[in-house]
């Protein structure tokens, strides 16, 4: 059976927005934990969460001050913020409805039920004491969708387009989180080794749900180059840039085999993974400028997404 370009597009974006909703919850969680330590001046930490989420301009247009409560509200439940949890889940569900015929009943119901629960809960304000419970709810509902997806979907091109959405979004999000915090990880940073740094680093790891995983890979000490290596090059870390690109390349490879044809997007993805493989040490990237690296990575990933859309006729020409 043929797959409509519009359906591939809907699957791609449904999964991008599920991933985004989940990452947004993790980011808020990281911000919350830092602000609870009392070691950091709260508003700055929240400010950096806004920047990581890429929604600072939208926030400034609406609020004058960086109040934790309005930042949380903006990230969690503001329909005017297209990347808020509520908007993301709405967009994911709208795309899911559009591609309903490509999903199993289990995936659709997990998505629809998640939407019902989150809509209901996020329809009323969330106080700081309720926040951990609400963030858990977001992570749980998105996990149900992912679980149903992995457990019931046929491994065909539908699965591949959905996975492309997940990992393009994840690569983008992890790069953004790193980019906002890259200054904390710079060796010249003045307060290096201070307790504040320690929490900053943990907050980075927490925002990708990996502070425990880190110790498995690198031991108990939090060291800047190791954290960067973990999030950029480590192929066992499911949110790292290299892992995300590995998955993107794999999904594109399946598509090439299914359809018997390769496109420009294959070359772009392959070039990037090759670059990751060539990279012997994370110091190569750090010396070349971490910020510059991340900036061009984000632009390149965005370009890859556009190329995928073009190569597989997501939109009418």
């Amino acid at each position: 059976m043929a797959l409509l370009g519009r359906t591939a597009n809907g699957l791609f974006w449904m999964h991008r927005y599920i991933e985004r909703a989940e990452n947004m919850a993790r980011l808020i969680d990281a911000g919350l934990r830092i602000s609870l330590t009392n070691l950091s001046a709260g508003p700055e930490e929240w400010h950096s969460v806004l920047t990581s989420a890429g929604v600072e301009a939208g926030y400034r247009a609406k609020y004058a001050a960086f109040e934790p409560s309005s930042i949380i509200d903006f990230l969690l439940r503001d329909p005017d913020n297209p990347s808020s949890v509520v908007s993301s889940i709405d967009t994911a569900r709208m795309n899911g409805r559009m591609v309903r015929t490509a999903l199993t009943r289990e995936v659709w119901e997990a998505l629809n039920e998640g939407w019902i629960h989150l809509k209901r809960r996020l329809g009323r304000p969330v106080s700081e004491t309720e926040l951990p419970g609400v963030l858990d709810l977001v992570k749980r509902q998105t996990a149900y969708v992912r679980g149903a997806f992995h457990g019931t979907m046929l491994r065909n091109e539908i699965f591949d387009f959905a996975n492309l959405g997940t990992f393009i979004e994840r690569a983008d999000n992890t790069a953004r989180i790193l980019d906002v915090k890259y200054w904390v990880l710079l060796p010249k940073h003045s307060s290096i080794g201070s307790p504040l740094d320690h929490f900053q680093w943990i907050s980075i790891l927490r925002s990708v749900s990996a502070h425990r995983a880190y110790t498995w890979e690198y031991g108990a000490d939090f060291r800047a180059p190791d954290i960067i290596d973990f999030l950029v090059l480590n192929r066992r870390m499911p949110r790292s840039l290299a892992y995300s690109y590995g998955m993107i390349e794999e999904s594109l490879g399946y598509l090439a085999r299914t359809y018997g044809v390769e496109h420009e997007c294959h070359q772009i993805a392959r070039a990037r993974t090759a670059q990751f493989s060539r990279c012997q040490s994370i110091n190569d990237i750090i010396e070349g400028g971490l910020h510059e690296f991340l900036e061009s990575f984000i632009i390149e990933t965005n370009g890859l997404a556009n190329e995928i859309a073009r190569n597989y006729s997501f939109y009418p020409i």
């Binding site: 043929a2 409509l4 591939a8 015929t101 629809n112 044809v261 006729s313």
Partner: protein, 470 residues
């Protein structure tokens, strides 16, 4: 006005089809059943079987209430109905073929010419064209009401794009999930066969340009349409593509859909888009819901459109009153299913009668649907009737009137137990190489006590409809 109750006879008795159900019901704890109602509702919410109410921005998506008490028909009752329906849908197709060709029925003086030529639903573009297998209306939902033991009336022939079939199937699914024991005790004929039947019916009317296995697609106006759930449901169940106008274009005399591997031709299109929006080149020029040039492709045998454009002339309410003659004209036998007596307000005597008896009649717009723009005389206020009378005098040709029928009742579950509510029935019929009728259909129920309006947009609900095997 006493209505015929399909379940209960007097205070203690029960009609035969409901015997086993009643025995089961008496053993149930009322509180548990009310809980089950809530359970059913959350099942429907999870499935996302919702509809949009036009003009109601706040409630973008709503559920149609579902009542747990099934509506049960005995096999003999159903067989008689099905036979009558088959006769009627064959006549409808013969009528359409005649109307778009020689118009023998007009020449015979059975249907006035002005009702055809001056009718918005009549498409001059269809004149002289015969679709594959000579089928015009492939998918029909015949609305039937009951007033007595053996008294059924056809209220409307929905021959354009009838909806509700997804509810028929989901209602059964829900009942089987919640009360499996009921299906062990009663032998209920299945309705899940509908999507397969639909697929077969559509495949059997492939156009001349089709090579090999036909590619079928469902055309939807999109996720904001009130029946989107159903469009997706049917495409999913049939295993065919659900397309929108933006997915389609004309290439080399075929309508093709944009896939991840380029463009692929569609052979049969089950469209859930109205005639007027189907093709901006042939019909309404500003429409973006259809695809430019599809009508020409259709006439050249490049695609089959189901239902055919122009079928609306057959279920037009002005034509409706002629149905007994139409059925007899084409089938050579008197209509087995009765029409509701109808006054055509276009006729002077009838208009006078209708204006004199507004408090006992139901007055409908000839082109209206969904229960909008109608007057239910007995429940309307004096002021409403007077306002309607003004509209009637201004445009009498726009209206027909029918007596207020004492629609049969079937009990619904309420806090205190069972309470009778009025119902209608929409069986779903497929016409192709053969006529396929799914046993049962969609029972719509007016949930408000005494109400006769069953439309979902006006507070109606639905029930699972059983046809017993024995």
């Amino acid at each position: 006005m006493t209505a015929f109750d399909e379940m209960l006879l007097g205070t203690e008795g029960v009609r035969p089809p409901y015997e086993k159900f009643q025995a089961w019901f008496r053993k149930q704890d009322p509180g548990t059943l009310i809980d089950k109602s809530g359970e059913a509702e959350s099942l429907f919410h999870r499935t996302g079987i919702t509809f949009a109410v036009y003009g109601d921005e706040a409630a973008a998506e709503r559920l149609i209430p579902f009542d747990l008490v099934p509506r049960i028909l005995a096999r003999a009752e159903w067989d008689r109905l099905a036979e009558g329906i088959e006769q009627r849908v064959r006549a409808l197709n013969a009528f359409l073929d005649d109307i778009y060709h020689d118009q023998e029925i007009v020449k015979a003086g059975k249907v006035p010419a002005r009702l055809i030529e001056g009718n918005e639903a009549f498409l001059p573009q269809m004149v002289g064209f015969r679709p594959p297998a000579g089928v015009y209306t492939h998918i029909i939902g015949t609305d039937i009401v009951r007033v007595g033991e053996g008294e059924f009336y056809v209220l409307e022939d929905n021959a354009r794009t009838p909806s509700g079939v997804s509810y028929m199937i989901e209602n059964r699914e829900t009942m089987m999930q919640m009360f499996p024991e009921l299906f062990a005790q009663n032998r209920v004929r299945p309705v899940e066969t509908y999507p397969t039947d639909l697929r077969r019916s559509l495949a059997a009317v492939a156009p001349p340009a089709c090579k090999g296995e036909p590619t079928i697609a469902v055309l939807t106006p999109g996720i904001h349409n009130s029946a989107f759930y159903e469009h997706a449901f049917l495409a999913d169940q049939m295993g065919v593509e659900l397309v929108e106008g933006s997915d389609l274009k004309l290439v080399d005399g075929r309508i093709v859909m944009r896939t991840t591997q380029g463009y692929q031709p569609i052979d049969v299109l089950y469209r859930r888009v109205d005639d007027a929006f189907l093709d901006p080149l042939a019909f309404r020029p500003e429409s973006v819901l259809g695809v430019a040039g599809i009508f020409e492709v259709y006439k050249n045998g490049g695609i089959t459109i189901a239902n055919a454009p122009g079928t609306g002339i057959a279920d037009d309410k002005a034509i409706y009153s002629y149905m007994p003659d139409i059925v007899e004209f084409y089938t050579g036998k008197p209509a087995m299913l009765q029409n509701v007596p109808t006054w055509r307000c276009a006729e002077e005597d009838s208009l006078a009668y209708v204006l004199d008896h507004l408090e006992e009649l139901v007055v409908k717009e000839v082109h209206g649907s969904g229960g909008y723009g109608m007057l239910v005389g007995p429940t309307a206020s004096r002021a409403e009737r007077e306002a309607f009378a003004v509209k009637l005098r201004q445009r009498p040709t726009n209206y027909i009137a029918q007596p207020t029928l004492a629609l049969s009742t079937v009990p619904i579950l309420v806090d205190g137990g069972l309470a009778p509510r009025h119902v209608d029935l929409r069986p779903f019929v497929l016409v192709s190489d053969q006529v396929r009728i799914t046993p049962g259909g969609l029972t719509r129920v007016a949930l408000k006590e005494g109400s006769l309006v069953v439309n979902s947009s006006q507070g109606g609900g639905t029930k699972d409809t059983w046809v017993l095997e024995v």
